[in-house]
Symmetry: C2
Subunit: 284 residues, 2 copies
C-alpha cells in the first residue's frame, strides 16, 4: 500500500493498535542493503512501514539533492515482494508544509551534539545530521513505530540517532543491521549508480583498505597511526580520500590504541562520487 | 501517585492504553494558574499527569536555577486535591542521565526557529527556549499524552511549543489556558514569591500598562509606537522595563498596525525579580 499523506498514515496506524510496528526509513532507490533491513523488520514486527523520502534538509547546497535517484515505482515492487505493509512516500510539501522555508530561522530542528557531529561525514557535510535527526524524529512521530531499522553503513548516523533516541526519550528501539556488500566487497549504496564500471572497480579500494586494517589489527597492531598508514599503499590518483579514522564505535571518541570496540571509518571520492564504508575491528 | 522514575511511569502509562491522557508540565511551586491548567485537563482527559521538574537546561548561568522555589510536598497536596492521577517528579539525573554534561557539545537539543526565539524573552534568555523545547519534547515522549496544557502567561513559550509540535509532527494537541491573576491584576507566577509586599504593589504596573494599551486600542489607536508610548506614564524608578512589544499573537511577527490578532508583551524587573505578562488586543 502506497500512502502520500500524513493523516492517511495516522488513520491506518491507529488500526494497528497493539501490533508491533517497524519503520525502515529510506531515501528510496532501494537495493539489497535496504531489503536486509526490511527482512529484519519482518522478522521482528507484525507490521512493516518503509518510508521513501529524499529529505531536502539533509543535503548541502553543493550536494546531490536534485540528482539523487528517485525510483518509486521500482521501490514499490521491491517492497511488495518483500511483504512490506505500507510505503510512506510524502512530498517535501507534506513533510515540511506548503511555502515553509527550510532554514533554522523558520523551522524547528533537532540538533545532535557537536562532539558527535564534528567529525567523519559531519565535518564536510555541515548541518547534514541536523537534517537527518529532524526528519527521522518527524517520521518516528508520524509512524510511531516500536522499532526503527538503520544500516551500519551509515555508522555515524546510527550512533547519532541512538544518541537522539536516548537524549530525547524517544519511545523507539533502534536496530542496526550489518552492511551488505557486492561480491567484490563494495558496500551497497544508492550512490553507486553514479559510478561507471571502471569506477566500481576503483571503489573497491574502500573495503580493501578497511579489511587490511582489520587484518593488521588481528595481527596485533593497535597503534592507530600505524593502522591508518597501511591505507596509503592502496590509494592512487583515482581516489580522493576525505577521511580515514579509527574511533570508538559507540561514542565516536578518539582512542589511544585500537581495541575490539573500535571502528575504522573511511570516506573517499571516486569519479567525483562520495563513497563511505566502515568496519568493526572486534569480532570476526 | 508520585513517580520519580521514567520506567515506572512508562509502565503505568501502558495500563492507560485507550484512555485520553493530559500532561500539565510544570516546574512545581504550584499556584492557582497551574490549578486552572489541571482543571482544564481534568475536563478533557481520562487521566491527568502533572510533571514537576525544575529544568536546568532552560536556565542561564546568571539565572535563578538554584533558588527557584521547590515545594514538592505542597505541590503533591494540591495535585491530590485537584484529582491528578500521577505526579512525575524526576531528578535531573533521571531526566538527563548520570554524569551527562548539559551542553550542546554532548546532548541532543531541540532548537526552535531563530525568528521565534530572537525576540521578547528569548533575546535576554539565550538558549532558554532550546532548553524548554528539549525538556517538553522529552516529557511528551515519556508521558505520551494526547493533550499538553500550557498557560498563556508564557505566551512566547506557547507559540514556540505549538511551532515545535507542528514542525516535528509531535502527536500531542496543545491546549492554551488563560492567565490567572490576583485581584489587583498581578499575573500569577511562582517567581512572585521573591517579591516583598511593597514589590507586589509595584508589580501591578505590568497589568496596568497592558490594560491601558488594550483600552487605547479599543478607542481606535492602532499605531504601535503610540500604543507603546502610553506605558511610560506608569513607570517609575522601581521598574526596570526589559521589553514592551506588540506582535502577531500566532507568529510573533512585527506588524505595521495593531489589530485583533495582536498581543502586547511586557517584561519588567521589580526588586530585581523578572516578571512577564501579556494581553490580547482582540476580544473582550
Amino acid at each position: 500500500m502506497l500512502v502520500h499523506e500524513i493523516e492517511e498514515l495516522r488513520k491506518i496506524r491507529k488500526e494497528w493498535c497493539g501490533e508491533k510496528v517497524g519503520l525502515v526509513p529510506t531515501m528510496g532507490a532501494l537495493h539489497q542493503g535496504h531489503l536486509s533491513l526490511i527482512k529484519k523488520a519482518k522478522e521482528m514486527c507484525d507490521r512493516v512501514v518503509v518510508s521513501v523520502f529524499v529529505n531536502p534538509i539533509q543535503f548541502g547546497p553543493a550536494e546531490d539533492y536534485g540528482k539523487y535517484p528517485r525510483t518509486l515505482e521500482k521501490d514499490m515492487e521491491l517492497c511488495n515482494s518483500a511483504g512490506v505493509d505500507l510505503v510512506f512516500a510524502p512530498s517535501p510539501e507534506v513533510m515540511y508544509g506548503k511555502g515553509q522555508k527550510l532554514s533554522n530561522d523558520t523551522l524547528t530542528y533537532v540538533c545532535p551534539p557537536f562532539f558527535y557531529v564534528n567529525k567523519l561525514c559531519g565535518k564536510s557535510r555541515v548541518g547534514h545530521f541536523d537534517g537527518v535527526c529532524t526528519v527521522v524524529l518527524k517520521l518516528f512521530n508520524i509512524v510511531q513505530p516500536d522499532f526503527g531499522f538503520f544500516g551500519e553503513k551509515d555508522a555515524q548516523q546510527a550512533v547519532i540517532i541512538k544518541k537522539m533516541v536516548k537524549d530525547l526519550n524517544v519511545p523507539v528501539e533502534i536496530i542496526e543491521c550489518p552492511i551488505v556488500r557486492e561480491e567484490g566487497g563494495l558496500a551497497l549504496s544508492s550512490r553507486n549508480k553514479y559510478l561507471s564500471e571502471e569506477g566500481k572497480k576503483e571503489a573497491l579500494v574502500l573495503s580493501k583498505i578497511l579489511n587490511n586494517i582489520k587484518a593488521c589489527y588481528n595481527k596485533g597492531i593497535t597503534d592507530i597511526d600505524a593502522l591508518k598508514e597501511t591505507a596509503y599503499g592502496f590509494l592512487s590518483k583515482e581516489h580522493e580520500l576525505e577521511y580515514l579514522e579509527i574511533l570508538d564505535r559507540d561514542t565516536l571518541d578518539e582512542k589511544d590504541k585500537a581495541d575490539d570496540n573500535s571502528r575504522a571509518f573511511i570516506a573517499c571520492r571516486v569519479e567525483g562520487v562520495r563513497l563511505i564504508d566502515n568496519i568493526c575491528l572486534g569480532g570476526k
